[in-house]
C-alpha cells in the first residue's frame, strides 16, 4: 500500500484510464495548458496533447453538451466542471439530456461519460462558489452520482466511472485534495453503487460521504477515547444508493447520525433518515439526528463560514444526543 493524496489518486486514475483506452479524453476549462485549476491534470497536456486534453471556452453548455454528443457517438469523454456551481449553467445538459437520452430513445444509444466536478465550502470563495448541491443532482433517475471520501475510493471509483456506459457525475471536494490515504499498489477498481463500512463500532451508526467522512472519522477517534464506538458507513455513491450496509449497521446499533456538508432541508440526510425509518422502524431506539450546513448562503468571512459548515464538534454532540 502506498500513501498518496486525493489529488494524486484522481490524477492516477485519469492517466491509467487514458493509457488503457484511446477513446478516453478530457475536456474542460483550463484542464490543458494551465494543468487544471486544482492541478489534477498537471502534465497531461504535455503527455497526451491538445486532442486528448481539450481546453474549452468558458461555456458549460458546450462542454457538457459536447461531452454528451461525443459519448453518444462512441467516445468516452471526461468533462470537467471547474466547480460544481458552474454545473447550474449546464443544468439542462445534466438533467434534461444526460439523465434522459438513453431512456427516452428506448436505449438506442448510451452515454459513457464522466462529469468531474469540484464542490464544497471552506475555502472562503463566497456564496456562489462554495455550494454542496449533491442532493439536487442525486434526485434524477438516469444519472449516477459518485462522491468519494478517501484517495483509495477516489481512484477506484473514478476508474469504474470512466469504464461505465452511463453518465456519471463524480463530485470531489475542494478542501480534500491534500488528504492522504493508503492506496493499493497496481490495478484496481471499486464498484459504483456500493456503500462501505469505513470504521466498525457498536454504539451509534454514522452515515456520511465525501467531506462528511473526513469529519466523521475524526469525531469517531475522539468519541472512542471517551468510550463510545461509532460505526461509520460511507455511502460513496448517492445514486444508485446502497442502503444495505446502513440498515445492517443500524439494526446493530439502533441509533444513527447522518452527516453531510450540504443544507439539511431536502438533503441527503433527509433521504437516509426516511429510508431507515421505512426499512428498520422497529429497530429505532432514538430519533435520528442530521448534521448539516446551516440554512444560509455561505459567507466569505472565515469565522462565519466555519460556523455555517458542519464541524467535528457538531458530530460528537449529535452522537452523544442519540445515546441519551
Amino acid at each position: 500500500m502506498a500513501k498518496i493524496t486525493m489529488r494524486e489518486a484522481i490524477s492516477q486514475a485519469l492517466m491509467e484510464e487514458m493509457d488503457r483506452d484511446p477513446k478516453v479524453f478530457i475536456m474542460g476549462e483550463e484542464v490543458g495548458v494551465w494543468g487544471g485549476t486544482y492541478a489534477v491534470t498537471k502534465g497531461f497536456y504535455d503527455k497526451y496533447g491538445a486532442a486528448r486534453v481539450k481546453d474549452t471556452p468558458i461555456a458549460e453548455n458546450a462542454i457538457i453538451g459536447g461531452a454528451i454528443g461525443a459519448a453518444m457517438v462512441g467516445q468516452r469523454p471526461i468533462a470537467e466542471l471547474m466547480t460544481i456551481n458552474f454545473g447550474f449553467s449546464a443544468m439542462d445538459y445534466i438533467v434534461n439530456q444526460a439523465s434522459k437520452l438513453h431512456y427516452m430513445f428506448g436505449g438506442q444509444f448510451t452515454l459513457p461519460m464522466v462529469i468531474r466536478a469540484v464542490g464544497g465550502g471552506g475555502r472562503q470563495l463566497g456564496a456562489t462558489h462554495s455550494q454542496t448541491p449533491d442532493a439536487i443532482f442525486a434526485h434524477f433517475p438516469g444519472l449516477k452520482v459518485v462522491s468519494p471520501g478517501t484517495p483509495e475510493d477516489a481512484k477506484g471509483l473514478l476508474k469504474s466511472a470512466i469504464r461505465s456506459n452511463d453518465p456519471i457525475l463524480f463530485i470531489e471536494h475542494a478542501t480534500m485534495y491534500q488528504v492522504r490515504g493508503e492506496v493499493p499498489e497496481g490495478e484496481y477498481t471499486i464498484p459504483i453503487g456500493k456503500s462501505k463500512i469505513q470504521r466498525a463500532g457498536k454504539d451509534v451508526t454514522i452515515v456520511t460521504y465525501c467531506k462528511g467522512l473526513e469529519l466523521s472519522m475524526k469525531a469517531a477517534d475522539e468519541l472512542s477515547k471517551q468510550g463510545i464506538e461509532v460505526e461509520v458507513v460511507d455511502l460513496r455513491t448517492l445514486r444508485p444508493l446502497d442502503m444495505e450496509p446502513v440498515i445492517e449497521s443500524f439494526k446493530k446499533t439502533n441509533r444513527a447520525v447522518v452527516v453531510e456538508e450540504g443544507w439539511k432541508s431536502y438533503g441527503v440526510g433527509s433521504e437516509i433518515v426516511s429510508r431507515i425509518y421505512e426499512e428498520a422502524f422497529d429497530y429505532v431506539d432514538a430519533p435520528i439526528i442530521r448534521v448539516a450546513q446551516k440554512e444560509v448562503p455561505l459567507p466569505y468571512n472565515r469565522t462565519l463560514e466555519q460556523a455555517a459548515l458542519p464541524q467535528v464538534a457538531d458530530i460528537t454532540a449529535a452522537v452523544k444526543e442519540v445515546l441519551k
Partner: protein, 318 residues
C-alpha cells in the same frame, strides 16, 4: 438530380404531408397524446436537405421531427407507432412525437428543449473529429433557437475547433407565436454566423430543388474545408405551432399567401412543366402514399402497448 431521385423526393414530401394529416386526425381522436408539432408547409426543407447528405452523415433536429424521420428513411409504420406510443415505435413508445430517432439510419433525434441539441451536435462532431471520421453532422433548428445561449456556445465551439457541422436554421417566421422581428435582434438569421466568422448562406425553403442545391454546396464546403457553415432556409408552417394553437399571432391572409407557395404544389408544377413526370405518374405516387399511410395507421393501431417491464428498462446501460 436524376428523374428517379426527383420522383422519390416528391414521394417523400407527399408522404410527410399525408402521414401528418392522418396524425392530426388521430390526435383529435385522442389516440396521440402530449405535444405534436406538424411539419406541414415545411416539407421541402428537410426533404431537400437530407437528400443531399451521405448516409454516414449524422442528422439531429428539434421536436418538429416527423418529416426529418421520414426523409432519413424511417418507415411510416414506425413513425405512426411511435406517435401512438406503441412498442413497435423506434423508441419503444417512450419518446413520442418529439423524440423520433433511429441511429441505424443516422437520425439522432428529435430533441424537445429549444436549442438544447445544438451543443450535442457539436459533440457529435467532436467525437467524429477525435475518431478521425470523415463524415459531417447536420443540425437543424428553428429561428427561435437562435436567441438562446446554447446556439451561441455551439456555434462558437464549432468554429474554434473546426468542427464539421452544417447548422441549418429553418426560419419559419415564428418561434411558437412570436414573430422573428419581435424575438431576434436580426431578422436575417444567417447574419448571426457572421459574428463567429462562419460562412453562411440563405435559400428559399419552399422550393425543394433550391434547398437540395444549396444544401449540397454547403455540405461540400463543410466536408472539404472542415469548417462549420450556417444555412438559413426560409419557410413557413401552415398549421399552428403545435396541436391546439389558437393562432392569434398571425392573420389568415398571411397563411393563405404562403399556402399559395405550397412546396408540394410548386414541385408538382416543376415536375410537370419540365416533363420529368406526367400527371398520371404523380397521381400514382399520391395513391401509393395514401395506401402506405393507411397501412401505417393499421400497423400502429394493431401494435402492442409497451410491456410494463419497459417502465424500468434502459434507465441505465450498466
Amino acid at each position: 438530380m436524376k428523374k428517379e431521385q426527383q420522383l422519390d423526393l416528391y414521394y417523400q414530401m407527399v408522404l410527410i404531408r399525408r402521414l401528418e394529416e392522418r396524425g392530426a386526425e388521430l390526435y383529435q381522436a385522442g389516440k396521440i397524446g402530449g405535444f405534436m408539432h406538424l411539419y406541414i408547409g415545411q416539407e421541402a426543407v428537410s426533404t431537400g436537405l437530407i437528400a443531399a447528405r451521405e448516409e454516414r452523415d449524422r442528422v439531429i433536429t428539434a421536436y418538429r421531427d416527423h418529416g426529418v424521420a421520414v426523409n432519413c428513411g424511417i418507415s411510416a409504420n414506425e413513425v405512426m407507432a411511435e406517435l401512438l406510443g406503441k412498442a413497435t415505435g423506434m423508441s419503444k413508445g417512450k419518446g413520442g412525437s418529439m423524440h423520433m430517432a433511429d441511429v441505424s439510419k443516422n437520425m439522432w433525434g428529435g430533441h424537445a428543449i429549444v436549442g438544447g441539441h445544438l451543443p450535442i451536435a457539436s459533440g457529435f462532431a467532436i467525437g467524429d473529429q477525435y475518431a478521425g471520421n470523415d463524415n459531417i453532422t447536420i443540425c437543424m433548428f428553428g429561428d427561435g433557437a437562435t436567441n438562446i445561449g446554447y446556439f451561441h456556445e455551439a456555434l462558437n465551439i464549432s468554429k474554434i475547433w473546426n468542427l464539421r457541422v452544417l447548422w441549418v436554421c429553418e426560419n419559419n417566421q415564428y418561434g411558437m407565436g412570436t414573430a422573428v422581428d419581435r424575438a431576434s435582434a436580426v431578422t436575417e438569421i444567417r447574419q448571426k454566423a457572421e459574428g463567429y466568422g462562419m460562412k453562411n448562406g440563405q435559400v428559399d425553403g419552399m422550393d425543394v430543388t433550391k434547398v437540395y442545391e444549396a444544401a449540397a454546396e454547403a455540405m461540400k464546403y463543410v466536408r472539404e474545408s472542415s469548417q462549420p457553415y450556417l444555412l438559413e432556409i426560409d419557410t413557413y408552417r401552415f398549421r399552428g405551432h403545435s396541436m391546439g394553437d389558437p393562432e392569434r399571432y398571425r392573420k389568415q391572409e398571411e397563411v393563405k399567401k404562403w399556402q399559395e407557395n405550397d412546396p408540394i404544389g410548386i414541385f408538382n408544377k416543376q415536375l410537370l412543366d419540365k416533363k420529368v413526370a406526367t400527371k398520371k405518374v404523380l397521381d400514382e405516387i399520391e395513391a401509393r402514399v395514401e395506401e402506405e399511410v393507411a397501412k401505417a395507421v393499421e400497423f400502429a393501431e394493431a401494435s402492442p402497448e409497451p410491456a410494463m417491464e419497459e417502465l424500468f428498462t434502459d434507465i441505465y446501460a450498466d
